[in-house]
């Protein structure tokens, strides 16, 4: 195993870098630009039971050192993901992929997870109970410990692969929710999803996003993400995936010191299509600079 390798819920990864769901499509889009097999893995576009167009546009706004999005889980639905997207991915990616699942009801989460769990290409299930851009579902499951635990338990019953629960930062006590997921059988926790934000068009005197609010991401949210990863990593024994504004190899190291076993990169992919490639290639040099022999040795180093 190389200096960058980590083990995430029993699966060995060449490095901890995972493009975050919603910023990397189904992978093959980025395979046009570089060999995506250099990644640890990636988390594919949030998948629901039925196809979804998502929210009206504008869906994107710029913020200082970041952005807002209100895409609203546009995806082709789980059947097409299995019949069309995964076969396309197979041609350019030979590692286990992280399947990101969203839903509007307990039954939907269960059904989508059950289907994707059977796919040999899927290594982990990442259950998104934290999308701030949909109504009547999404984030509402991630804002109470009881509801988060209920989803976790239900999904675990029908799956064999590691289940990672993706948490929302838009809560009063992230630790309580993470612990509830752990007790309900979650194999890992990923955090943070986007922070609920808003931008007003001062010329038009109305919200810029058609959805009124959106999820904020980018470097501006990084310190919040580090804080929450640190709090959760202190409180749980299962692996934590850190994300939120990660853009550089230094950010990766910081996240891992805060307790992350692996690190997702989101918004940075949208500004620089080579962001993950650059981070992976520059990591060894930055590790040398900080006297880090193996990345796995620093996980939780600041706890």
């Amino acid at each position: 195993m190389g200096r960058l390798s980590v083990n995430l819920c029993g699966i060995e990864m060449d490095n901890p870098i995972i493009p975050a769901s919603g910023t990397y499509g189904f992978g093959y889009e980025f395979a046009e630009y570089y060999d995506i097999n250099i990644l640890g893995t990636f988390s594919f576009k949030g998948t629901t039971l039925e196809p979804r167009f998502g929210n009206p546009t504008p869906r994107i706004a710029e913020t200082p050192s970041g952005m807002l999005n209100a895409v609203g889980l546009q995806n082709p639905g789980v059947e097409k993901v299995i019949s069309e997207e995964l076969p396309k991915l197979k041609e350019c990616f030979n590692k286990p992929v992280m399947a990101n699942v969203s839903g509007f009801s307990l039954e939907e989460y269960v059904s989508v997870c059950e289907k994707l769990d059977k796919e040999p290409q899927v290594g982990w299930l990442e259950v998104n109970i934290s999308c701030p851009n949909v109504h009547g579902g999404g984030m509402s499951f991630g804002t109470s410990p009881e509801a988060a635990a209920e989803v976790t338990r239900a999904v675990k019953k029908v799956t064999t692969k590691p289940v990672i629960i993706k948490l929302s930062p838009n809560v009063t006590d992230i630790v309580a929710i993470a612990k509830a997921c752990e007790e309900a059988g979650a194999d890992g926790i990923s955090l943070i999803n986007t922070l609920l934000g808003m931008k007003i068009d001062i010329r038009g005197r109305k919200p810029l996003l058609a959805n009124t609010t959106g999820g904020m991401s980018g470097p501006a949210v990084f310190p919040i993400a580090v804080r929450m990863v640190y709090q959760v990593a202190k409180a749980v024994k299962i692996p934590v995936i850190g994300l939120g504004g990660v853009s550089t190899p230094e950010d990766v190291i910081e996240m891992m010191l805060a307790g992350a076993t692996a690190v997702q990169v989101g918004a940075a992919n949208l500004v620089d299509p080579y962001a993950c490639k650059d981070i992976i290639e520059k990591l060894p040099e930055v590790m040398d600079k900080y006297n880090i022999e193996n990345l796995k040795d620093i996980i939780g180093g600041a706890l």
């Binding site: 919603g22 910023t23 990397y24 499509g25 889009e29 980025f30 046009e32 630009y33 576009k45 167009f53 998502g54 009206p56 546009t57 504008p58 869906r59 994107i60 706004a61 710029e62 913020t63 200082p64 050192s65 970041g66 952005m67 999005n69 895409v71 546009q74 980018g218 470097p219 918004a267 992919n269 949208l270 500004v271 620089d272 299509p273 080579y274």
Partner: protein, 245 residues
């Protein structure tokens, strides 16, 4: 798509709030008229998507309007500054359907991508007519550039302060053309959709996240399914369009 550095060799105003910028660098990934580039600006998180007005082997020209803080910064940039640019984005116009007498309809900063298109169509020996619409005389640009290509060029202004008074659609009523290509603000595109009697291609503008198909920020519904304006667009054929309202 290619990410590379470009050097600014020209950046000057050509009309009210409108600037022409010439960028020296690798243009090999720009393969069609109607494609766009996505420009990284210091101090701004998202790139600025701007249509390509003209290219040659080692330089590209863009024409942009100052509409916000990003384009305001661009207008203040000096020659010899470098920019990080993604090139070769979007599907671009399909020239194969033009027929012998294509009509180009541009509005405001929708005019620039039609210039490279006109150049290509003229190269193919087509009899090209361009109708370029602006609000007022001080906003008019590119008239001479189109004329220099040998394109029959008609300028319209909404207030009648230059050229034909009215909208581009007012100037095409009795015109004979085989096909049309258009780019401009959405109300103009809707008017063109109604006022034209042939098939044609529309180039759309939408707020984008990435500009290369990853974020689903600029999706739209079409007759043939959901499309991303940055990837399967910005050019859609008339028969494919579903207007949102």
């Amino acid at each position: 798509m290619k990410q590379s550095e470009f050097i600014i060799t020209l950046n000057q105003p050509i009309a009210k709030d409108v600037y022409k910028m010439r960028l020296l660098g690798d243009t090999s990934h720009i393969t069609k008229a109607g494609q766009f580039v996505n420009i990284k600006l210091d101090g701004f998180y998202l790139r600025r998507p701007i249509s390509v007005c003209d290219i040659d082997r080692d330089a590209l020209t863009i024409i942009y309007k100052v509409v916000g803080q990003g384009t305001d910064l661009m207008a203040k940039m000096n020659v010899r500054n470098t920019l990080d640019v993604l090139t070769g984005l979007g599907n671009g116009y399909d020239l194969s359907m033009s027929g012998d007498k294509p009509l180009l309809l541009g509005g405001g900063v929708g005019v620039p991508p039609l210039y490279y298109l006109a150049k290509k169509l003229v190269e193919e020996g087509k009899e090209v007519t361009a109708v370029l619409g602006f609000n007022t005389a001080d906003e008019v640009f590119c008239e001479q550039d189109f004329k220099d290509l040998g394109v029959k060029t008609i300028i319209t202004t909404v207030d009648g302060s230059y050229g034909t008074k009215g909208f581009v659609t007012d100037a095409i009523k009795d015109m004979d053309y085989t096909y049309f290509y258009t780019c401009g603000p959405e109300p103009m595109l809707k008017a063109v959709y109604k006022a034209t009697n042939t098939s044609g291609q529309f180039s759309f503008e939408k707020r984008m996240g990435c500009g290369f198909g990853a974020c689903m920020g600029c999706s739209c519904k079409t007759i043939t399914g959901n499309k991303r304006i940055c990837k399967e667009g910005p050019v859609l054929v008339k028969e494919d369009i579903i207007w949102e309202d």
